[in-house]
Every structure is written in C-alpha cells, then in structure tokens.
C-alpha cells in the first residue's frame, strides 16, 4: 500500500476557516445566544495596595434590576485562594489570588465584589452604589528595588522574593576565572501585554432538567478548565461541559488557569439556576488580564581573545505582580533559552520572581525567550565591540554546528525535559540572513547615507525556540457513515492558529483527500476528554502526530475492507483522490465514502440513490460479524507523547532609519530566517511569523505598561497603550529552512512563538548601529523617540 505521501503536507492551501471568519460568521462567546442571561460587572480595586475597611453592598443589592451582589463573604468554600498550578522548591513563598478580595487588595483591577443584574448597564450602575472604604498601604512598584528594600506586598511573607533558583551547566566559575575577556551588562525588558482582539468572556448556563452546566469560555485549555471546575463545583464530567467556540486571539494569557471570573460566573449560574454572562471590557482587560515580559537581566560572557565564548552567567529578576499561580514557568523558559544558538559549555542562570502590586504575569507568546534573548544577543554585540570583531563573525564562531546534534545543555530544563537541541542548521540560517539583508554591502551604503544626513543601522540576532512540549495530545479520526466526510476531534482549542486547515491537511495527507474534505472539531470537552490545550507552540507537534497515527489506523482499515470489496490484495492497493484503487488499474476503485457505507450494516442506500453503487462491490467483510472489534465504522484513535521537546531556530536581521532630530525610528527592512522543521502549511507558518514579529516590534518600540509610584496604571486604554498598527509593522521578508525533527514521525517543530523572540534585540542593535557616530548604547526595550533622543544626548558624541 502506498499513498501519495507529502502531497498535501507542505502545501499553502487556503484556510478552511476563512470563509466563515472573514465573512463575520464566526461564533464567539458573545455570539452564543442567551437572551435570558444575567450580566455580571465587577467592582475592582481602584488602588494598588490597601486594606479594606468598609465594603457595603446593600445599596447595590437594593438597586432595581439587580439579582445578586456577592463579596468574598458570600462565596463560602470558594472564597479560598485559587490553586497553585506548579509548586516547586524554588518557590518557597507562593501566593495565589482569592476569587474576590478578602480584607486586602493587591493590585488595581483586583475583583472585590460581583454584581449580577438584568443587563450590563444596570450591573455597572449598581457597582457605583457599593460603598468601599480603603486604607492605603504603600505600593510596591519597582521590582528590582523590592528584592531587598521597602514595603512588602504580602505582609505575612518575610520577603517580596517569591522564588529564587539557579541552574548550572558545566563549570561557569572556572570559565570566568580562566577567561581572556569578560563583558557584563544589565538589560531590561519592560512589562507589557498581548492584547487579543477579543477580551476574555464567560457564559455559563445550567440546564434545570439534567442539572448539567455548560460553560462557554475564551480559554485556550477547555479540558484543564473542566477539571478545575469539576474539582471546585463538585459536578462530575458528564454534567459539566466547557466549550471554547471561536476565540479572537489568546497569545497565552487565555491559557491561564483559573482566572477568578472563570470560577465565579459558572458558580453564579449554578447557584442562581440561570444563564450568566460576563464579557470582559477593554479596561478590565488592561487591569485584570495577566501581563507579561517585565524582566531585568544582568548577564556576563566569558570568552577567549579570538572570540570563543566559554561561559555565560545571567542573574535576572522578574516583575511577578501580586500572585504566582503559574509557578515558575516564565523564568524557567527564559533560563532554558539563555544560551540561545551558541555552543556555550558553561552556564549559570539565577532567576528570582519578585512580588509587586500589579496584576500577575503569566506565560504569553515568547514567554521569557524574548527577554533572555535580548540579554544574550545584546551581550554578544557588546563582546564583538570589545573584541573589535565583526558581530556576524563572532556569532559564526560560536554557533552550535550541524554535527553537534543532539546538543545537550545538561542542567537546563525546558517544560520539564532536559534541554537537548534536536536538529537544525544554525550556520546556514545565519549565512542566509546575512545574504538576504545584504550584510556585506551594508557598511558602504550606511556611510554614503550618513554623508547625506541619514542614519541607517543594521541589527542581527539568532534565536532558538523550544517547542512541542508534552505530555501528550490525542485525536479521534473517523469517516461519517452517510456523507463519508472525515471528522477529526481533538482536545485542543484554537484562537487563530488555523487548526481547521493544518490538522485537516494531516488527515487528508494520510487518507488521500483534499483538506476541505476533512472537518476538525475542537474546543468541546463533551467531544474529546483528554488533553492539555493550545499553548507553548505545542499543538501541531503533539496533535498532528496523533492525528496522523489515528488516520493511519483509518487507512489500514479502509485498505483491508477495500481489498475485500475489490477482491484484490491489500498490498496492491493505492490511496489517492479520495479513492482506493488497484495499482495500475484506476477503474478498479472504491471511494472512502463507499467503504464507510459498506462496513456499516445499517445503510441508507435506499434514501440516497447515489450510494446504491456500493452494492456492486464484493462484501466489505468476509463474515457477518465485526472484525477485531472494529465496529461498523472507519475509525482510529491515537495519542502522541513526545520523548523530548523539538527546537526550532532562526535568525532575524533588520535595517532601521533613525531621525536624530526627533528620535523617531522607522524599519526599512526586516528579514526572518526560520526553521520549524517540516512545514504543514507554509502560508500559515508565515502568518505565525508575521504575528510574532508584530508583537516583537510592539515590545521593541511601542508597548509598555506605565505605572506611577502609587501603582496606578497610567495607560490602561488603547489611547495610551501603543499597540502598533499595520503602518508601524515593517513588511517582513521570510526565508525558510526545513530541518525535520528526528523526534516525531512527521518531523514537525512548533512555529507559534519564534517570530516574537528576536525583534527587541534586533531593533536595539539596529538603532545602536545607526547612532554609532554618537556612541549610543541600547540596553532596554522598548525604546521610544524620547528615549532615543535622550540616548543621543547622553552619548559621548551626543549634543546633536
């Protein structure tokens, strides 16, 4: 048996979801019809840190149209802090949030009381009637200072340092003792957020007949949310369904488990025996959906005079916000990527998470990689400068080589697995990027433009991206009994990753179909009961391999039945074009649909004359019972558990122009070299890269969360939080390499986050290069025009 393998995988087929989504026919949580639903609005803390002296909701309860108003006192057992997901010895002081604040508030936006009313307007009116008297406490805003000074976020803890850990590879102390040159610098990435187009939303409805609760939730993880709600609400799985319909972007922040609202809204539906809806508005999203990024790294490189990097030390602190329910995932991912694409044999990395009076951070696209990559790549540029060596050449001398794979960094861990870079061709990626950006000719062009008063600069950065963490994902593939349409069901969700297309391509490839003949069903716990969710560039690595295995099972069955029907040997059959036919005799063929109908003793060929033809074949079964317990259908189920993580890699290069008069920066070119192993759909990979680079550009020059000294969030709206528009994101030139991963049958690696990693480092390097005549050094992201002007003014050649 042979299929036309590779025929569908690797093709940029149009997206199956486009027709629906681009015409505005998607079904988001707010589109789920529930005209009788009650609406929720929250009273949220107006200050960053305070003791609650008075909380009186009686006037709000008495307001017409209000069904209920809850404070923590009304929650009973649910007033308890939400779970800590990943306890660890490096996290001696974990704190998680109570669903509604008890006695104290720890960040602006923290929910204090919940109003449930006939509509959102009334609910918000009632929120204004709640009497709240707060006694201000000093706010912890500067996380680096908070390591060892000033007030505490949580008075019952001895320190603001929630977590403190160190990972070591080789013998870094010796490497530094023996180094011929050491560079050391502090690099900072500011706190930001990822701003999905659709904020969070939860709708919960109790079916009074069966007592079952259905929860529509914008989560990236329906099954973990279901498990959490089963544990919290005491309903068994058969009475508790979580559905993530279309979701307008997640970027990780919707993979958090659990937000208070995700517990409180279902709880309200259960207690009030009603449908209850909460739509997060943009202001709430700014204040109460998790943030990301904020880290300060002090990094050192040890090297020989001829530019061989022998050691790396990094010591970084993370602005954790007030709580740490997600444990150490973000610092771990930052730490696991700190040596990047380089063969640095001795590494030490210390991470500390510091409580502040701000909303918590949790993993979001990139998750620590952009920060540690910023520190590393800036330090490599600094080393090149100190050595008087070309920065591309320094990188070239230190890259992990193709023959080094698998390349282990013993002592570092990614997603619970030891860090072992599995495959790639890093030198080739670098050369491709240098070539594409015109590295060799750039200096001359730069000099010429400088004479004309234009300041151009080039930035360069390499990155690796650990992807495809387990523990597993699964899939069920079957052929529908009448239409013959292929159905694939998984335990994942999708927030814009195009699963309906890429997953369909996997099944179609095995079954010899076109991708639009395959239907993907996701985001419904009632349809598939096991799995984790869509985050960490893991969905395609885990799920595509599971779908492929399940589809292979379907194909084996189909071939077995087809052999019977065509009275041929299974080895002589070929799969393609939706048909199975005898090799060399295309007219002796049977379609997948005909096989599906033929194996089912309950047929409806009399209802649909077009299917009557199945009777012309020999029987699909050699006896009247079901073979091997196969049942009446073509079906396969499989799970895929990776043995380790797959490592994508790439190189970014950019050319910018800086206006030294205003400090404004414009990208002239942006080149991405990207290797995520076998690409299922290159156009979709490009889309992921575009989105990632756009987020990276945001982190380079636009987005930051601004707080005043009292912890007030000063730019909690799109007026002042500067998400770049299409006009600010450069057009992106992409070059692909495809080094298959040896770790899974399809050779796939993840592609969801790579685009976001390098832009801050590349942009900083390019600005620094453009302003080299002034002697500017860039060690923070994002910059903005004012900071660029300030850098020029402070530089040795400044006073422009």
């Amino acid at each position: 048996m042979t299929g036309a393998a590779g025929r569908v995988i690797g093709r940029s087929v149009a997206r199956n979801e486009d027709e629906r989504l681009l015409r505005g026919r998607g079904m988001y949580v707010d589109d789920v019809r529930a005209p009788d639903a009650l609406h929720v609005a929250f009273l949220r803390s107006p200050v960053a840190h305070a003791r609650i002296r008075v909380l009186d909701v009686s006037a709000a309860r008495a307001h017409p149209g209000v069904t209920a108003v809850w404070t923590h006192a009304d929650l009973g057992e649910h007033a308890e802090p939400l779970p800590l997901l990943f306890p660890h010895e490096h996290l001696p002081h974990p704190k998680t949030q109570q669903p509604l604040a008890v006695d104290e508030v720890d960040f602006v936006g923290q929910p204090i009381a919940m109003v449930i009313a006939e509509n959102r307007y009334t609910a918000e009116d009632a929120v204004e009637l709640i009497e709240l008297d707060l006694e201000d406490l000093p706010a912890v805003v500067d996380y680096e200072a908070a390591v060892d000074q000033g007030p505490l976020v949580h008075a019952d803890l001895p320190t603001n340092v929630a977590a403190d850990g160190t990972w070591t590879v080789g013998d870094p102390d010796r490497a530094f003792a023996e180094a011929e040159i050491v560079v050391r610098h502090r690099f900072v990435c500011e706190r930001s957020s990822s701003m999905p187009m659709e904020p969070r939303a939860v709708l919960a409805r109790l079916d009074p007949g069966t007592g079952s609760l259905t929860v529509w939730d914008t989560t990236q993880c329906v099954l973990p949310v279901r498990s959490a709600l089963v544990a919290k609400l005491g309903l068994p799985e058969d009475l508790l369904h979580v559905i993530a319909p279309d979701v307008g972007g997640g970027f990780g922040l919707k993979g958090y488990l659990l937000y208070p609202e995700e517990l409180l809204v279902p709880l309200a539906a259960l207690r009030l025996r009603a449908a209850v809806r909460w739509n997060e508005d943009r202001r709430e999203h700014f204040l109460a959906s998790n943030h990301q990024r904020g880290q300060a790294h002090t990094i050192e490189l040890a090297a020989t005079r001829d530019g061989v990097i022998t050691g790396l030390r990094d010591d970084f602190v993370q602005d954790q916000g007030a709580f740490i329910a997600y444990g150490l995932i973000t610092p771990w991912i930052a730490a696991s990527h700190v040596a990047g694409s380089y063969r640095i044999p001795n590494v030490s990395v210390r991470y500390r998470c510091v409580y502040t009076n701000k909303v918590s951070v949790s993993p979001m696209r990139g998750v620590g990689r952009p920060q540690s990559s910023f520190a590393l790549e800036r330090a490599v540029d600094l080393l090149a400068h100190e050595l008087g060596l070309d920065r591309a050449e320094l990188r070239r001398r230190n890259l992990v080589q193709p023959e080094d794979f698998p390349y282990a960094r013993e002592g570092l861990f990614f997603a619970g697995y030891p860090v072992v870079l599995d495959s790639g061709d890093y030198p080739k990626a670098l050369e491709l990027a240098l070539d594409a950006i015109g590295y060799d000719g750039f200096a001359a062009e730069q000099a010429l433009e400088r004479e004309r008063g234009r300041y151009l600069g080039l930035g360069l950065a390499c990155y690796v991206e650990g992807t495809g963490e387990g523990p597993y994902e699964g899939a069920r593939v079957y052929v529908q009994p009448t239409s013959g349409k292929v159905q694939v069901t998984t335990g994942l969700t999708t927030q814009g990753q195009s699963h309906a297309t890429t997953f369909a391509q996997i099944a179609a490839d095995v079954l010899g179909l076109e991708p639009d003949q395959v239907q993907i069903e996701e985001g419904n716990t009632a349809a598939f009961g096991f799995g984790a969710g869509t985050f960490g560039s893991r969905a395609i690595v885990n799920c595509a391999n599971a779908i492929s295995l399940a589809a292979l099972e379907v194909r084996d069955k189909a071939l077995r039945y087809a052999a019977n029907m065509l009275e041929a040997a299974a080895e002589d059959l070929e799969v393609g074009g939706g048909m199975i036919h005898v090799r060399g005799v295309p007219e002796r063929s049977v379609s997948l649909r005909e096989i599906a109908i033929a194996v089912n003793p309950i047929r409806y060929t009399t209802l649909d004359p077009s299917t009557a033809g199945v009777e012309r074949f020999a029987p699909a079964r050699t006896w009247s019972g079901f073979e091997r317990g196969d049942g009446p259908l073509l079906e396969g189920s499989a799970f895929w558990a990776p043995s380790s993580t797959t490592w994508s890699n790439g190189v970014h290069a950019a050319i910018v122009e800086v206006d030294p008069g205003t400090g404004d920066v414009r990208y002239l070119r942006y080149v991405v070299v990207h290797d995520c192993g076998v690409m299922v759909n290159p156009a979709i990979v490009n889309g992921q890269i575009h989105g990632g680079v756009a987020q990276g550009v945001a982190n380079s020059f636009f987005e930051r969360m601004v707080y005043d000294e009292t912890g007030q969030h000063r730019n909690a709206s799109f007026l002042d939080f500067l998400m770049p528009y299409a006009t600010e994101v450069p057009s992106i030139e992409i070059h692909h390499l495809e080094t298959p991963s040896p770790l899974n049958p399809l050779g796939i690696k993840g592609a969801g986050e790579g685009g976001s990693i390098s832009p801050p480092a590349v942009t900083a390097a390019a600005i620094e290069d453009a302003l080299a005549p002034f002697g500017v050094h860039v060690d923070e992201a994002p910059l903005d025009p004012q900071r660029v002007r300030a850098l020029i003014a402070a530089a040795p050649g400044g006073a422009a």
């Binding site: 959102r120 307007y121 918000e124 009116d125 204004e128 508005d281 943009r282 202001r283 008069g661 205003t662 400090g663 404004d664 636009f702 601004v706 000063r714 730019n715 709206s717 007026l719 002042d720 500067l722 770049p724 528009y725 006009t727 600010e728 903005d784 025009p785 004012q786 002007r789 300030a790």
Partner: protein, 270 residues
C-alpha cells in the same frame, strides 16, 4: 464601559437644536460624531443629563468654497473636508493636517465642528484654523455671532462658546497665492494625536507658525526665530513625552515645517 443613564434628543433642525440646548441647560451635551464624546461616556468620565444629537441636522453639512476661503458646516465629516478638491486648492494645509487625524473610519464619523468645539490642544484642525487666522460661527438663544480663532481656544478642551451656544460653521481663509504652507508632526503611531505638531505659513518675510500639543491651546507665533517659539509654547509632560522633549520637537518640527512652507512658497507648489 457602559455609560450611565441619559436622555436622548435628535432634533431635525438647527432651530430646534438651539431651543433644546437652552431648555436642557448646561448639564446636557451636544453629540456630533461621537469619536471623542462616546469614549468619555463609556468610561463614565462624562455624565451629561441628556445628549442633543445633531446627526439629523442636515443644514449643518456642507463645504462651500468662495474667493476668500472655505466655509464648512459643523456637522460635515472630517473625511468630506479632506476629500474636498476646493478646500485642498484654497487651503492645502487642510488636507495635509486632516490626513494626520486618526484613520479614515474615524474621520468618516468625526466632524469638523466636533474637533474644533472639543478644543483638544493636540488636535490638528484647531492648529490649522489658528494658523490660517480662521473663525467660527455660533448660534444661541441670543442669535448668531462670529468668534475668531485667536479668541476661540481658551484652555485645554475649553472654548469661548457659551454653554447655550452651538457651533454651526468653521471658516478657513484661503492661502495667499504667494504663500506656502506645511503641516508636520511627530506621533507615536500613524494617526495618533501628535507628541508635537507644527503648522507653518510663509509668505515673503512674513511667517506664521501654530504648534499643536505644546500648550493649553494651539500656540500661534509670528516669528521665524526658534527662541520666540520656545518662549511662546507651554508644553506639559505626559507618559509619552516630557515637556523638555516637546521643546526639542518644537524646534525641530517648527524648523522643518517652516523650511517646507518656504520651499513651497517659492516653488509655487502646494
């Protein structure tokens, strides 16, 4: 982000609108394109007792070009002004400034009268009105009167309209044939309010500059000496730009806008 309760009126004529404006008192607000007012309502920063929506008052929608300038009805969309060929010919500055205002979808709804009445000192059209020495017409219970741009802008978001008056027309005088004009700004993103903006007109030795976002009103200076500009502006700092940085921008953008205006004056081009 839902507004508190308010009464809603949508008069069909200017007379009726003026009557309602008097009757409902200063607690009521005029609603034009809503691009500034609706966000304020949704954030509950503004709590008017009633809205008087002018969208049905069609008599306030026009662009009339004459010898001496362009008269624009208050309810004309910014987009319509931007697209007007006559306006672009008579006052080339308008299209240049208008294109820096937000994005087409917002200019489709935002009105010319709204942006002038809103009097955001960072807004582009107020600076253009002032550098062109324009004026507005307002109507109230005491009848109609004219207010020159120099008198109109009082302070941040404050004009010299009386609480019972409605702005009905904005008049932009034509640029003299021997003059050149230019508008330049630095904004963080395309279409954002500027960190600083400079509108310049040059005719022979005579120059007029008007700066946006550099004081509590658009700041007019009739000098080509950056020291005079620096003395005239009163920039404030915010999270995007300090007062000091805004002063730097005034010098850079003022200089560039003036140079461009002079080049256009002598080149005879727009």
């Amino acid at each position: 982000m839902k507004p508190p309760p308010f009464d809603y009126h949508a008069p069909a004529t200017l007379d009726e609108a003026v009557r309602l404006r008097t009757e409902l008192g200063p607690e009521a607000s005029i609603l034009a394109g809503g691009q500034s007012l609706i966000p304020l309502l949704n954030l509950r920063f503004a709590r008017p007792s009633a809205l008087i929506d002018l969208r049905r008052v069609r008599e306030l929608v026009y662009v009339r070009a004459g010898q001496d300038g362009v008269a624009v009805g208050a309810m004309t969309s910014q987009r319509e002004l931007e697209r007007s060929v006559d306006a672009a010919r008579l006052c080339p500055l308008l299209r240049e400034a208008q294109r820096c205002v937000a994005h087409p979808v917002i200019r489709n709804r935002g009105t010319v009268g709204g942006t002038i009445a809103h009097a955001d000192p960072a807004a582009e059209l107020p600076a253009a009105l002032r550098v062109l020495a324009g004026h507005v017409t307002v109507r109230g219970p005491r009848g109609e009167r004219r207010i020159d741009a120099d008198e109109l802008f009082q302070f941040h978001f404050t004009t010299s309209l009386e609480p019972d008056e409605i702005l009905t027309e904005v008049f932009f005088p034509a640029l003299r044939p021997d003059a050149g004009s230019a508008y330049l700004e630095l904004s963080r993103r395309h279409g954002d309010y500027p960190l600083a903006g400079a509108a310049a007109i040059a005719a022979g030795d005579h120059v007029r500059l008007c700066f946006a976002a550099l004081g509590p009103t658009p700041v007019l200076v009739e000098s080509d000496d950056p020291a005079d500009w620096d003395a005239a502006i009163e920039p404030a700092g915010d999270i995007h730009a300090s007062a000091g940085y805004r002063r730097e921008l005034a010098a850079v953008l003022g200089g560039r806008a003036l140079a461009l205006a002079r080049e256009r004056a002598t080149g005879g081009a727009a």
